[in-house]
């Protein structure tokens, strides 16, 4: 049994890419037709539950996609096993922390009230 698997990460990488493409298309349309937001409007928009869920999903897709990509780079180029294991763990930890940070940020916006 292998740790990293073959088909599943490949599928996750493709699905997360498609999801992010869709989000970016929506964002591009939004930026093109809308006015630059004021701070108050930005914060108000971000505290809506649907925005928070969408942003959390986007970041989750982003960090999953980044994990698989970075894992591929490390598996390709780093050959000494201890170094590879260390770098993979560091990247995984880093991405998990970023996900946690996003949750904290979103919770902060929500907690302060809309």
């Amino acid at each position: 049994m292998s740790l990293f698997g073959g088909l599943r990460p490949w599928v996750i990488q493709r699905l997360s890419a498609l999801f992010m493409l869709a989000c970016l298309v929506v964002l591009a349309v939004f930026l093109a037709i809308g006015e630059p937001m004021s701070f108050a409007a930005w914060r108000a928009w971000m505290s809506r539950p649907i925005a928070m869920v969408a942003v959390l999903l986007f970041f989750t897709a982003l960090f999953s996609h980044a994990w698989i990509g970075l894992r591929d780079v490390l598996l390709d180029y780093v050959h000494p096993l201890p170094l590879r294991a260390l770098l993979l763990a560091a990247v995984a930890l880093g991405l998990l922390s970023l996900e946690g940070w996003v949750v904290v940020i979103l919770a902060g916006v929500h907690g302060a009230g809309s």
């Binding site: 292998s2 698997g5 990460p9 599928v11 591929d72 598996l75």
Partner: protein
């Protein structure tokens, strides 16, 4: 004609070096192999593999002016300037342009490149429709020359764990064969982060295949089969 050829002598133990040669073109010179044979006549120490001289045995694969190809079907007229010859990239060099193909063939062997069908054989052939037979076109013609795997960066970085385009193409040749019954096992073997999934469709393999095959497309089809198989 001027040549710059990679030389390595394991008995001398020194590092590889590039040796320059000059050759007067003769009437019979058409392919690079013709020139190499004449160069060897004047310098017998120059070593390279060759056999059929018509592009079907795959012996004389090498890096020609930066791209992999077969010396016997590379026209001299198409080679510009000083012809620079090097061994297949990424393969251990035994001597001059002769490389160690052991790992390459081990990967081929691991893909079980033979028909697996335990059902009792029929009185004559195991029949295939013309459409089923057509599925094998672009796959059976591989001559295992190594040009593809020798041009694949993913194979360069992990030649021991990544199977490489040649073995993967042969793996697909049997997955695609309607007479083979081991598809599930073949797919399971390939479903591995190293064996198959080091490939990221760089497509260097397809660029240099001297038989015009497309290992990248075969690999893509394995991925789709794996996906369908899992759903």
């Amino acid at each position: 004609m001027r040549f710059s050829i990679y030389r390595y002598d394991p008995d001398r133990g020194a590092k590889p070096w590039m040796q320059d040669y000059e050759l007067e073109s003769e009437h019979g010179d058409r392919m690079l192999l013709d020139a190499l044979v004449r160069l060897k006549a004047s310098d017998d120490s120059l070593s390279f593999r060759r056999s059929c001289r018509e592009g079907v045995c795959g012996s004389d694969a090498m890096n020609i002016n930066g791209r992999n190809g077969l010396a016997c079907i590379t026209p001299l007229a198409g080679l510009k300037g000083t012809v620079v010859l090097r061994p297949l990239p990424g393969f251990p060099v035994i001597r001059d342009l002769i490389v160690d193909m052991e790992q390459f063939f081990a990967h081929y062997h691991s893909a079980k490149p033979y028909l697996i069908n335990d059902q009792p054989p029929p009185a004559r052939e195991r029949l295939q429709s013309p459409e089923q037979r057509a599925e094998l076109d672009g796959l059976w013609e591989c001559i295992m020359c190594g040009c593809c795997s020798g041009f694949c960066p993913s194979y360069w970085w992990n030649p021991d764990k990544f199977l490489g385009p040649a073995a993967l193409l042969q793996g697909y040749r049997f997955i695609a064969d309607s007479r083979d019954t081991a598809t599930a096992e073949r797919l399971e073997f390939l479903d591995d982060v190293y064996r198959l999934y080091r490939c990221r469709s760089i497509m260097n393999c397809t660029e240099v295949c001297p038989k015009g095959l497309s290992p990248s497309r075969a690999i893509e089809k394995i991925r789709l089969k794996l996906l369908k198989h899992s759903l």
